[in-house]
């Protein structure tokens, strides 16, 4: 069974090719069978492969399809690598991916670009599978850029609106900034270690570099650059909220469940290298901690239902980075998995709301949707509970592990405190959304027609979000064994209470309105803070001033190419000289005689004088 591994990414690729080759002429009712069917096949095959793998000895399995390029000592193949980590990722990508494809069958049913949508989606799943299964960093980079491309295509899917195009380009270029750092990291790793095969590279790195060596730190830092770009962490986080311009299933699949967590996967995959650079690990944890707080505060102030979820995604990935930074790698992957369940659920539920309520995104124009949209409502409640990490939901287990691990790490108190404060914020912003959008007087204008295709994925994801925390992958075969450790009484109480307190605050501020939040935001400082948070802490403004505008200005003033002025100058000078000399050709004898005489005199004078 394992040797069918290569087929798993192949199915979506074939689906993509069929959909592209049909040039939009395929009968509409066939499109979902190709689009969702191909991913379904992959999911089934992935399950079969997974069962066989897990019932075996958990030894990594390799499959080389063909040699991609080989120059001298450099070789890179189309080689796949399956271990518990990549299996975990493969399950998420094909499983959650398949549910989202099914959902899209309903969600996109009326869209003119139905086939194009599924073509891009299939290409995405292919690229994402290559990313998680790649045995060497070059192939991983192929998947890495491939998912970036699909993200670009799907954010800008509704291309008539230039704003969507701008958001799509912003996402691509900003992640490219990180990717370029990562590419330089690959060059460095190859120059120093002579291979880019991940396992060989990690072995050589441990042999060549002692813990704390500068070169290991530099390499890890460059890879981290790629990771923060893809995973929308500080300082490259600002593209993700704008990426919400894409259709909602995209936000669920790409910008919540799979692609944005690729950075987490990259660091987990190369964790040996990061462990050689403790300073960089501290940085990873710090990036995660700061990002989760910034994004959490920002989410408190957003009005757009999808932007709230986007900031929440940034924040939750912050938790994963925090976990990576304190070497709790399996906790990070565990949280990645549960997050895929509940955040996909939340996005799809948001899609259901948008679908049923006149494409409305502003939660303050919703309200009272609870009775009218029961499936969406209960999905939101379950998803928010898991996001907030209320006890016994999937998110509770994963987040608890992270906070416990953080507590025992170096500088752990601060990381733990940031994570706990973040949990409080999560409680507030999650249930703020639920209370504002779904409670209040019943809304007459909404009606839920989700159909089979959209409701079944919601129900299944709801079940996963609730119960997914009870199953976990045997990641101990990949990562160094680390027990999360006990939190102790006081810290344990804080950790467990923080989300509940957050929900309680949300109840007071937004449900019961005992303390209306407007009292806070209408004060002078409150208003300024609110606007600062609302803008995502001014990062867009800063980057605009520092990078985007200067580049645009330079390009605009130099659009006619200053280098050409040299040559235009030469041309102009010779034309001028041409005219000047032509003017001497007057045809008048006396001028010629005068010039002749003058020249002769000058020549003689020069001869005498010298």
């Amino acid at each position: 069974m394992l040797n069918y591994l290569g087929l798993i990414p192949l199915f979506p690729l074939i689906g993509f090719l069929i959909l592209v080759a049909s040039q939009g002429n395929m009968p509409r009712r066939w499109v979902p069978w190709i689009g969702a069917g191909s991913v379904g096949l992959s999911a089934v095959l992935a399950a079969l492969v997974g069962i066989e793998f897990l019932s075996g000895s958990l030894e990594p399995y390799r499959q080389t399809l063909w040699t991609w390029m080989r120059v001298g000592h450099f070789a890179s193949g189309f080689s796949l690598y399956l271990d518990a980590l990549s299996l975990n990722m493969m399950f998420v990508v094909t499983g959650v991916g398949f549910l989202i494809h099914v959902y899209s069958v309903g969600f996109m049913a009326d869209d003119a670009g139905y086939a194009r949508f599924f073509a891009y989606m299939n290409l995405f799943v292919f690229a994402m599978l290559v990313l998680v299964l790649a045995d060497n960093l070059v192939l991983l980079y192929l998947g890495w850029e491939g998912v970036g491309l699909c993200s670009y295509l799907l954010i800008g899917f509704w291309y008539e609106n230039p704003e969507n195009g701008a958001a799509a380009r912003k996402a691509f270029v900003m992640t490219r900034v990180g990717d370029t750092a990562m590419a330089i990291g690959l060059f460095l790793l190859f120059a120093r270690l002579g291979t880019l095969d991940i396992q060989a590279l990690l072995n050589r790195a441990s042999a060549a570099w002692p813990v704390g060596s500068g070169m290991a730190a530099l390499a890890a830092l460059l890879l981290l650059g790629g990771a923060v770009g893809k995973s929308a962490q500080l300082p490259l986080q600002t593209w993700l909220p704008d990426a919400m311009a894409g259709p909602t299933p995209i936000s669920a699949l790409i910008h919540a469940a799979t692609m944005v967590t690729a950075g987490v996967y990259l660091i987990a995959r190369t964790h040996t290298l990061f462990e050689l650079a403790p300073a960089v690990l501290q940085l990873v944890a710090a990036v995660g901690a700061v990002t989760l707080l910034i994004a959490g505060f920002t989410a408190l102030t957003q009005r757009d239902i999808k932007r709230i979820l986007a900031y929440s995604t940034i924040s939750q990935i912050g938790y994963m980075f925090l976990a990576l930074g304190v070497t709790a790698f399996s906790s990070a992957i565990f949280h990645l998995t549960t997050h895929a369940y509940f955040k996909a659920l939340l996005f799809l539920a948001a899609g259901a709301v948008i679908h049923s309520y006149h494409h409305e995104h502003d939660i303050f124009r919703m309200g009272g949707l609870r009775k009218r949209l029961p499936i969406a409502f209960w999905s939101f409640v379950i998803g928010s509970a898991a996001l907030t990490a209320l006890p016994f939901t999937s998110g509770y287990f994963s987040k608890h592990e992270i906070l416990a691990s953080a507590f025992h790490a170096e500088n752990g108190f601060w990381f733990w405190a940031a994570g706990t404060l973040g949990a409080l914020l999560t409680g507030i912003y999650s249930f703020r959304l639920v209370f504002i959008a779904f409670f209040g007087p019943e809304n007459e204008r909404a009606s839920e027609h989700l159909g089979f295709a959209m409701s079944v994925p919601l129900i299944l994801l709801g079940a996963l979000a609730l119960l997914g925390g009870f199953v976990s992958m045997p990641l101990g075969s990949v990562f160094p064994r680390s027990e999360p450790g006990e939190l102790g009484l006081i810290a344990g109480i804080f950790t467990d209470l923080a989300p509940l307190v957050g929900v309680g605050i949300a109840v007071l501020l937004y449900l019961l309105r005992t303390y209306p939040v407007e009292a806070l935001t209408e004060t002078r400082w409150g208003d300024m803070l609110h606007r600062f948070w609302f803008s995502g802490w001014g990062f867009d403004w800063l980057y605009g001033k520092l990078l985007v505008n200067p580049f645009r200005w330079l390009a605009a003033v130099n659009s006619s190419d200053i280098a050409d002025d040299i040559y235009r100058g030469i041309a102009a000078a010779s034309q001028y000289a041409h005219r000047a000399f032509a003017a001497t050709q007057t045809g008048q004898l006396r001028w010629y005689v005068a010039a002749f005489t003058g020249g002769t005199v000058l020549a003689i004078a020069l001869g005498i004088l010298s």
Partner: protein
Amino acid sequence: MLAALILVLAVGGLLAWQAERYGANAPRWIALMTLIVDGALLIPYFAGGFPEAGVWLDDIRLHWIPRFGISFHLGLDGVSLLLVVLTIFLGLMAVAASWTEIRERVGFFHFNLLWTLAGVLGVFLALDLFLFFVFWEIMIVPMYFLIALWGHENRAYAAIKFFLFTQVSGLLMLLAMVVLVIIHQRDAGVYTFDYFDLLQTSLELNTAWWLMLGFFIAFTVKLPGVPFHTWLPDAHTQAPTGGSVILAGVMLKTGAYGLLRFVIPLFPETVADFSPIAMGLGVAGILYGGMLAFAQSDMKRLVAYSSVSHMGFVLVGLFAWNALALQGVVITLLAHGISSAALFVLAGAVQERIHTRDMNRMGGLWTDVPRMAAIGLFFSVAALGMPGLGNFIGEFLVLLGAYRVDAAMTAAAALGLIIAPVYSLILIQRAFHGETREIHRIRDFGARELALMGFLIVATVWIGMYPQSMLDVSDTWLKNSLRGWGEGVAQPNDSQPPGERLADRGEP
């Protein structure tokens, strides 16, 4: 066999010219057939497999002007074979792309097209410096006519600019060449223009510098490298589609070829000192060209400046001079040839339909012409370096190799990876996405154009997914150029190309 490659094109050109009297289609078919026959002549070279030792797959040497040691000496090795294939392939595409666009003086057009290609083939094959120079000039003149006669609104200016730039730089090359021959004559006692003989010339460092500069400038103008690039946007923009395809796809590659065949092997010691400057120029080209591409509103100009940016990678890779970087250069030449040719065909097709290249007047074309838009998207994505497509392989290998030589310079060159999507995606946005600004009722690609683009797409995917098939071909050349120079003319070890850093240092 090698002479036949060139001869077939020359004769085919004459035939096409004369065939015009039998209708406008006759020259088109003759040109097509000529190129197919020419391509067929190459099949034996692939059928035979590639030798482990000895670079030259074929050569021919006839006396020409014995008094000055000038001979008709052609040779084919792995890298020239790949470039010859590219030339003929893109020649076919150029004929196909001009099928409906060229309606006047069809015969003379195809004559010029085929003669340009013949000149280019000669450049890729010549192993006698004088012969090389002759072919170098032969390819310029018909190209001048292509731009000046069938070009767009500003064609006279562009054609003259193109001609002057290449002519002046060609003069520098001729001067350097003659001086080199004279110095060689003083040492060895015979006049010779033969490549292998001249490789043996020992030069004073100072003289070598000047001669190297002469060649370097000639080839860098053609490549083009900053700051000698300014002829290119005008020439590419004003040329008819077929001309742009040949210019961008093939003719720029002669500059790169000259650098790798002549400049670096002839002047190894100077090149070692010079390479930081050359790589710096390459980096400048990558960034400056990318920025200018972003600033353009003329679609063809955007693509033209993007060529400046991509050729910067070639310069970086050439002067890094190790196996990885050089293989990257070869792949970049092929991949960029194909992707830029495709983008020029696309821009030409848009212009043929809506009579403008101004992207401010496009927008929202996806709705009207989805096939054109999707194909445009494909090649823009290829150009921005998407792994799995050709251009990525080339640029990745260049940077991977260059990093071992100069990490800081490579990091700067890698910034080009950020600029590439900036200008590539703005092309897509302004032409195909966004709101429809003007209503154009235009037809999408038909069968001929789809077939043409299909070939280019397949080639791009092939290079991207299985570059090994090409790397194996250029490998024989590479091993020899890094080691010494061919069988029987092996250089003494001390004059190997610059020092130890030129050799692939292998495992650390």
